[in-house]
């Protein structure tokens, strides 16, 4: 009887724990497009199955979902044209919950259990590093639309192709080029650098710092903050106390929003402000910091609405038709994911093959047109091009530098907070 009572009293606790564990496990489980059990016969079926692990929950979920939209849109678009070499394309997308452990498990399952034909990459350098190694181990080409930090290329994997115009750490070089192109009287004299401790973020700001210091722009503040820092007010307060002309943020998403909000609260408005990531999200950035506070902020981007690059107009139309909104609301990450698919299409079109060995050998030579521009790679998968400088002007994110792609002139000095 005693045991029975204990059991009965313990039952709700056990149930709660079980429900919690099930929910937690669900966060890192299969996401959406794959049927239960995966596509076990993918390699023998006519359908071309492409596996990708994407962060649909966790820290990278905003960008991860944008990547998912890009992959799926490309698959829908190419299927509407009859598929690749007569084979329909199916995306097998699983959720890694932004976890570097889960991403390894996911790609091992995609390759060994689901037997996908090709693999596309996840979001972020953190996840791309181990994921590319798994793909390499099994001879898969790895087209990665995100995750181009230095450590990715240090692996020297010949199966890896970073589907952006340049390595991520060079994303800020175009801002440095713009600043150094200004007449000496208009150039900033002092600079502050607030950098997220992340392989994607801090190196971008460091590259800019080296170029600025070489050009005589004095560094008055430089600090790296850990990723779990929710409150950046003390950091931005210290920067405001130094009155720098330019603030360079080596940022991801949340910290970019926090930097802007803190500066608004501190009423410090620099002449120039560059945020490596976060500010290039047309949807999230104005929502998080207030549309009026975006004016004049620079960021780097590879795709922009109105681009004349290959397939950009068709991508934009298809995106709006499928997901709604406007061209201004399209996330770069979706365009980059779409470009990964364009490369597979291009290789198949040229070689009439769509296997991993062909993709690897073919992409290593020549230049390949995508909606991000023409892409080519070094032996380690590092792309050889450059990013575009974009700026928030009148509530829109527009390309402003280099001049050949500019849709508007850069606005400097930065307007006051609140427009």
């Amino acid at each position: 009887m005693l045991h029975h009572n204990r059991l009965r009293r313990g039952l709700p606790v056990a149930c709660a724990t079980a429900v919690a564990l099930v929910l937690a496990a669900g966060c890192a489980s299969r996401a959406s497009t794959a049927p239960a059990g995966g596509n076990k016969n993918a390699s023998t079926s006519k359908t071309l199955v492409i596996g990708a692990s994407v962060s649909l929950t966790g820290d990278f979920s905003d960008s991860g979902k944008a990547v998912q939209r890009g992959y799926q849109l490309w698959a829908d678009t190419v299927n509407a044209k009859g598929g690749i070499l007569g084979r329909k394309v199916k995306m097998d997308i699983v959720n890694d919950a932004s976890s570097p452990n889960q991403v390894v498990t996911n790609y091992q399952n995609l390759i060994n259990k689901d037997h996908v034909d090709l693999t596309f990459g996840p979001f972020s350098t953190l996840l791309t590093i181990p994921a590319a190694q798994v793909a390499k181990r099994y001879g898969y080409a790895f087209l990665a639309p995100a995750g181009g930090g230095p450590k990715v290329f240090e692996q020297n994997l010949n199966n890896f192709f970073f589907v952006q115009p340049a390595p991520t750490t060079q994303a800020g070089d175009v801002f440095a080029a713009y600043i150094l192109s200004l007449p000496a009287a208009q150039r900033p004299k002092t600079a502050a650098y607030a950098e997220l401790d992340d392989p994607f973020s801090a190196p971008i700001a460091e590259n800019i710092r080296q170029k600025f210091e070489a050009a005589g722009i004095k560094t008055v503040y430089k600090q790296v903050y850990p990723s779990e820092t929710a409150d950046l007010s003390p950091v931005m307060g210290a920067i405001a106390a130094k009155h720098p002309d330019v603030i360079v943020g080596g940022t991801q998403n949340q910290d970019a929003y926090a930097q802007v909000k803190s500066l608004v609260q501190l009423k410090y408005n620099p002449k120039f402000m560059f945020l490596s990531n976060g500010a290039n999200s047309p949807l999230e950035f104005p929502d998080k910091v207030g549309a009026a506070n975006t004016a004049g902020i620079f960021s780097a981007s590879d795709w922009f609405p109105g681009s004349t690059a290959a397939g950009s107009a068709a991508f934009t139309t298809a995106y709006i038709n499928k997901y709604g909104g406007t061209a201004q609301k399209v996330d770069d990450s979706s365009a980059e994911a779409f470009a990964a698919g364009q490369l597979v299409e291009a290789v198949a079109s040229q070689t009439h093959k769509v296997d991993n060995a062909t993709i690897i050998s073919t992409l290593h030579s020549g230049s390949w047109p995508t909606l991000l521009g023409n892409l080519s790679w070094s032996a380690n998968g590092a792309p050889n091009g450059e990013f575009n400088l974009v700026q928030w002007e009148s509530g829109k994110l527009v390309p402003v530098f280099p001049t050949k792609i500019a849709q508007a002139a850069p606005v400097a000095p930065k307007p006051n907070w609140g427009g």
């Binding site: 204990r6 709700p12 929910l23 979902k65 950046l232 003390p234 929003y257």
Partner: protein
Amino acid sequence: MHALVQGIILGILTAGVYALMASGQTLIFGIMKVVNLAQGAMVILAAYLSYQLFASFGIDPFLAIPITTAALFVVGVLVELLFLRPLRKEDRSELSLLVTFAVALLLEGIMSVVWSTNVRSINTTYADASWTVFGYQITLVRLWAFLLSLAALGGLYLLLNRTRFGRAVRASVQNPESARLLGVQASRISAIGFGIGAATAAAAGSVFGLLYPFNSGSHYDLISKLLSIVLLGGLGSIGGAVVGAGIISVSSAVVASTVSPIWSDMTFFIVLLLVLLVRPRGLFGASARGAI
């Protein structure tokens, strides 16, 4: 010097918010000897409720506090009734860690399903407003949050020291057997106490949503900070939670402003370790039962 003073101002104002969150946690420990690992998740739940009330009905997060407080009180009472009460008294302290962590995961899962994992923030017209005083910026939201925290903590003090319920709570803490013999219903006190502890998360959650972007996973960073605060102040001591929040918040802000943000979080752990070496029960932790 300017950065130092600005850091101190920021630290003091932010301390109010953390004190509010931690006071609920320490109250729950004082009454039930339960370390509530779901307190951070409850703060985030309150932030989501405030966000939804603001986004859907335009209700200001500060004005929404009575609604979120009532909702979180109910959540707290339900957690106590469904998950904690069935635990055997002698195992409660140990098992409550697992159970409240499971509750935190459960709440996180529910929030992920309802609101997705996208980062949210509450952008009112005054969210970024600040006053300039002698060249230093006083953020309006932080100031209001600080004053709100003082009011809420004052209310909590009055509830515990000037009401019949408060006397019953203190009696239960000091001598549960005697309290029971005198007619105090310990189970009722526990349920209401847990509800009040959760309700303090409501006010803090509204303010948290105004100050920081958040998503369902934000509670992990929060709970580590809250545990540090209540350990520093002394488990079960509301005054200790206030002092602990002040020390941790100010030291973090000052170190981040003047030394390095990398050392910021490290600093309060060093302070915590030093205090625990000298006073293992925290600054205001009682060596015997009897203090809240």
